[in-house]
């Protein structure tokens, strides 16, 4: 299985840990990733706030290059996935728009490939075996609230790989490595990522609700698949705690980090970058001595 890999801007900076854990896990379970050469930013929520056409054109360039590679695209970042997938769907259906954008592109996109998100790829049934084989240390000390956020599942007609109101893909993946998952109501609520810079007070409120419900459901960590969600929940947690006077101490993991941990892959560097310390939950009620090994790394 081989994919054209689109890391997106975040995975090259704030979300490096998502990038390296993704690469490590994919290599281990036999998913080959070839980075799209010279890819550009997908435009994020800014492009479609300014011009609908721009929100199609920026992803189109990447899609065109990937089509030249002859590979479907693997996108780890939920926000990039949303934009890339929306553009793919619209450009495939809207010939005139596609043609007018293709005129500007050096590698045109004709609709020959499609965009997939990492939970969709890794959660595919045919990889289940490979994941199970590679699990060295089941992470049964974790009780996770899987957080999908908005962009991974909505609009359901475009994203469509998982249920929009009660998605299960991340739950299934982390269950396979021994993590217990909780049933909680905030799986798909928005964290306000696009206001991370401009409206911090809003983000703090939204983040608070998410953390609160995760904690109430008995989770000791949150698992996500989006650098924006991770950044919000992780970096803002201190502010939330300060503002609402409530301690959460909920580490926010990328699901790939957990996979890597369970597969005993070197992810120490990743975990160091977390704002909310991870060692406590990972050490917690130790099973099969996995915590110690993780610490050694």
């Amino acid at each position: 299985m081989k994919y054209a890999y689109f890391p997106g801007c975040s995975l090259h900076s704030t979300a490096k840990e998502y990038d390296c854990s993704t690469k490590a896990v994919c290599e281990t379970i036999g998913v080959e990733l070839e980075e799209i050469p010279d890819w550009n930013c997908c435009g994020a929520s800014s492009a479609h706030s300014l011009s609908h056409k721009l929100s199609l054109a920026l992803p189109a360039r990447n899609l065109g290059i990937a089509e030249k590679m002859g590979l479907d695209v693997a996108v780890p970042c939920a926000a990039c996935y949303n934009r890339m997938r929306a553009a793919e769907q619209e450009l495939r259906g809207n010939t005139s728009e596609r043609e007018s954008i293709n005129k500007i592109l050096s590698a045109p996109f004709e609709g020959g490939i499609s965009v997939k998100t990492l939970p969709e790829i890794i959660g595919a049934p045919d990889l289940a075996e490979s994941i199970r084989e590679n699990v060295k240390k089941p992470l049964s000390q974790l009780k996770a609230a899987c957080y999908y956020g908005c962009l991974l599942v909505r609009p359901p007609k475009v994203m469509g790989f998982d249920d929009a109101e009660d998605p299960r893909s991340l739950d299934n993946i982390v269950s396979a490595i021994g993590v217990e998952t909780v049933n909680w109501p905030y799986k798909v609520e928005c964290c306000g990522a696009s206001f991370a810079l401009t409206k911090p007070s809003i983000v703090v409120k939204l983040t608070y609700d998410i953390l609160r419900y995760a904690k109430a459901a008995g989770a000791n960590c949150i698992v996500c698949a989006c650098p924006l969600c991770q950044a919000n929940l992780d970096t803002r947690q201190k502010d939330v705690e300060a503002k609402y006077g409530e301690k959460f101490n909920l580490p926010i993991f990328y699901f790939t980090e957990l996979l890597a941990l369970a597969m005993d892959l070197p992810v120490e560097d990743c975990l160091k970058r977390h704002m909310v310390a991870t060692d406590e939950v990972l050490r917690a009620p130790i099973t099969v001595g996995s915590g110690e090994n993780a610490d050694k790394r």
Binding site: C9, H12, S13, T14, K16, D38, W39, N40, C41, G43, A44, S45, S46, A47, H48, S49, L50, S51, H52, K53, L54, L56, A57, L58, A60, R61, I101, I104, L105, S106, C150, L151, R154, P155, P156, A164, E165, V188, E189, C190, G192, A193, S194, F195, L197, T198, K199, P200, I202, K205, L206, T235, D239, K272, R273, H274, M275
Partner: protein, 219 residues
């Protein structure tokens, strides 16, 4: 920051004059930009009920749509709401009449920008700076963009602690990547936006605010 449009709005009578001053084209313009049929909405309020940002908005999402139905543009284009919509698509996924309010919000932001009416300037500015950054390097370089945004927003000190923490954690990269195909990206941006942003010629990004335009960086 002075907000002339908003104060004007506030002092005006709240009565909506229909039939006389109704901007009949407004609805059609929103419909053509968004591809949504505005009259399909029957004002149930489900969008408002599920909107995660509603608590911060000045007009509720369904009210925005109502105004568009009536063809009343001013209060909508000058609202905070259209800038506070996170584009989370909760409304679109659940609307019983299959209206995508998030697409309509996109359209309204585009109109507000083109008419220089953006009320939440920081948000509008952020989007602009973001695309400027893409135009500059083809990718977004967080530190450079952040710096430019902070300068433009005259908001240098908030979040300083956070930034420092992130920097120490190795989360912020100092030097930007620039892609080879940046000219192609610039062309894409120029050809698909009504008023293209002007990428600053200097690499690495000076701290200078982007060229001022009414309602955007001009402040």
């Amino acid at each position: 920051m002075e907000q002339p449009a908003a104060s004007e709005h506030n002092t005006e009578s709240p009565t909506i004059i229909l039939g006389v001053r109704t901007d009949a084209d407004f609805r059609l313009r929103v419909e053509s930009l968004s591809g949504e049929k505005v009259m399909q909405c029957y004002q149930c309020g489900e969008c408002t009920a599920g909107c995660p940002m509603a608590f911060a908005m000045d007009l509720m999402p369904n009210q925005v749509l109502r105004m568009v139905q009536l063809g009343v543009s001013k209060p909508v284009l000058e609202s905070s709401t259209i800038w506070l919509c996170a584009g989370c698509e909760t409304c679109a996924a659940r609307c019983p009449r299959l209206v995508s309010l998030s697409k309509i919000m996109d359209a309204l932001r585009q109109i507000a920008l083109s008419e220089g009416k953006a009320r939440e300037r920081n948000v509008a500015r952020f989007h602009k700076i973001f695309i400027d950054a893409v135009a500059r390097d083809g990718r977004v370089h967080e530190v450079g963009m952040l710096a430019r945004y902070k300068m433009a927003a005259r908001d240098l000190f908030s979040d300083m602690g956070l930034g420092l923490r992130m920097f120490l954690k190795g989360k912020l990269k100092l030097m930007p990547d620039k892609i080879k195909g940046v000219d192609e990206v610039r062309r894409l941006i120029r050809d698909t936006t009504e008023t293209p942003p002007h990428p600053s010629p200097k690499r690495g990004g000076s701290a200078a605010p982007p060229p001022s335009r009414r309602g955007l960086g001009g402040g």
